[in-house]
């Protein structure tokens, strides 16, 4: 039987459908990562402010988002928002909202960390060379911040892709849902297809995440002083 199970992958357009499902996941993560970077940069800069109220609010936001499982956040937005605002949010939109909120929190913290890790004398030695403040940022501060930030941000992206797998639980038709449909459709002809299809999904995720996390590791190694 086992040699038969794998053929279900190549029947009709099954494999293409799985890839299509994966694309939904990747698409949602990419949009969320993009938005998280923009909002995260803002949040990170806000978090370096000394204002106690700002500090307190951002801290509460950060801690709440971090301590709640992402699935709980998805439920809060998907089920909660529908009821309270009468908005019928789709699973995809809920997912983008939640992952952007989460990503912004994580990214904001990374940006804050990178910003405060630049020693003060970097600004001073820049000034001592006669650079203007705009040039100091352009040539000294921003490149150093980016070096610290980029590997961490890339890591965040792989975490985002993995976490996006959760959206199947709020009804989005993504790779796991497509897998279920394929298995269901071939229930009688290929009874052991679940092993192969879910195995395939497992490796699809791996193929997407692995190169990206290798990239992060390599960047980190390259840029560590």
């Amino acid at each position: 039987m086992q040699d038969l199970g794998i053929r279900v992958l190549f029947m009709g357009n099954n494999f293409i459908r799985l890839l299509g499902g994966l694309w939904i996941t990747v698409k949602i993560s990419l949009i969320s990562v993009g938005l998280s970077i923009v909002f995260g940069l803002l949040l990170g800069m806000i978090m370096t402010l000394k204002n106690p109220i700002v500090k307190c609010l951002t801290k509460i936001y950060l801690e709440f988002i971090r301590i709640m499982p992402q699935l709980v956040l998805l439920f809060l937005v998907y089920f909660g928002a529908t009821k309270s605002f009468g908005l019928q949010l789709s699973g995809e939109v809920s997912a983008v909202i939640v992952f952007t909120m989460w990503g912004t929190a994580e990214m904001g913290d990374l940006v804050r960390g990178a910003l405060i890790s630049i020693p003060k004398h970097q600004y001073e030695s820049g000034a001592a060379l006669g650079l203007e403040s705009r040039q100091i940022y352009r040539y000294i501060i921003v490149p150093q911040t980016l070096r610290r930030l980029l590997p961490l941000a890339i890591n965040l992206a792989t975490r985002m892709v993995k976490t996006t797998s959760l959206i199947v639980l709020i009804g989005v038709v993504e790779v796991l849902k497509v897998a279920q449909q394929i298995i269901e459709a071939n229930r009688y002809t290929v009874p052991d297809s679940a092993l192969w299809i879910y195995g395939c999904v497992f490796f699809l995720y791996f193929i997407v995440c692995w190169p990206v996390s290798r990239l992060a590791v390599r960047m980190e190694k390259k840029w560590e002083n």
Binding site: P69, V72, D192, A194, L195, G199, F206
Partner: protein
């Protein structure tokens, strides 16, 4: 703000009191399975990190492949494979078995990475000076290397514990009546969305806040009081 205030007013406290015990049971289940998984994760983490540290042939390569597989795939997909895939080749696992195996498979690599970074941070000379007073290799690890590595590894290990308990939130897919399952059930059956979600959030806060606070305290103690500073 008004929207929220109005909703707090309208909360059905009777409903909440009635179904509160379901959450308690679910939280207990989550906690029990989570802790079991974390324990196995630690064991796997120790084995993998030591295999790397001592350059144990074969085992080391297996550990590298395992860590990459585990870290680059979601727990949800791992659970689908275990629960729905494996029975097709005759490997039948109970729901709890799947949950614990899945969580350990995921957590082992995270623990391994945390411990590896700790082991790498211990200075090379420590091993030699411990050998030089006649300790055997096991004693060197037990009394000299491991305690130092652990001190460095505690912050990431704590972070992993919190991360893994959060990850248990997908256990409902292997038919376990965990917190998400209870909440979804109540929403589906009674449309008491606000109450169900509020209790869900509170349950996770009760479960995770103490661990998070404790982790913060341990970390601070290590940083400020470590080894006579």
């Amino acid at each position: 703000m008004g929207v929220f205030y109005g909703r707090i007013e309208k909360l059905d406290t009777g409903f909440m009191a009635e179904y509160f015990p379901l959450y308690v049971e679910a939280a207990k289940l989550t906690f029990r399975l989570g802790m079991t998984g974390i324990l196995f994760s630690l064991v796997i983490g120790v084995v993998c990190s030591l295999a790397g540290y001592y350059h144990v042939p074969v085992l080391r390569q297996i550990a590298v492949v395992y860590v990459e597989l585990s870290r680059n795939t979601p727990l949800l997909v791992q659970l689908f494979f275990l629960y729905f895939g494996l029975p097709k080749i005759g490997v039948m696992l109970s729901s709890e078995g799947c949950a614990v195996i899945g969580l350990s498979f995921l957590g082992g690599s995270y623990m391994a990475e945390a411990l590896r970074s700790g082991l790498e941070a211990v200075e090379k000379g420590q091993m030699e000076s411990a050998l030089a007073i006649g300790l055997n290799r096991f004693q060197v690890m037990r009394y000299v290397i491991f305690p130092q590595a652990l001190a460095t590894s505690v912050p990431p290990l704590c972070a992993n514990v919190i991360f893994l308990i959060k990850e248990t939130s997908v256990f409902s897919v292997v038919a376990l009546a965990d917190l998400m399952y209870v909440a979804k059930d109540l929403i589906g059956l009674y449309y008491q969305t606000d109450e169900a979600l509020l209790m869900l959030v509170i349950s996770y806060l009760v479960l995770l806040l103490p661990i998070s606070v404790a982790a913060g305290l341990i970390e601070r103690r290590l940083r400020y009081a470590g080894f006579g500073d």
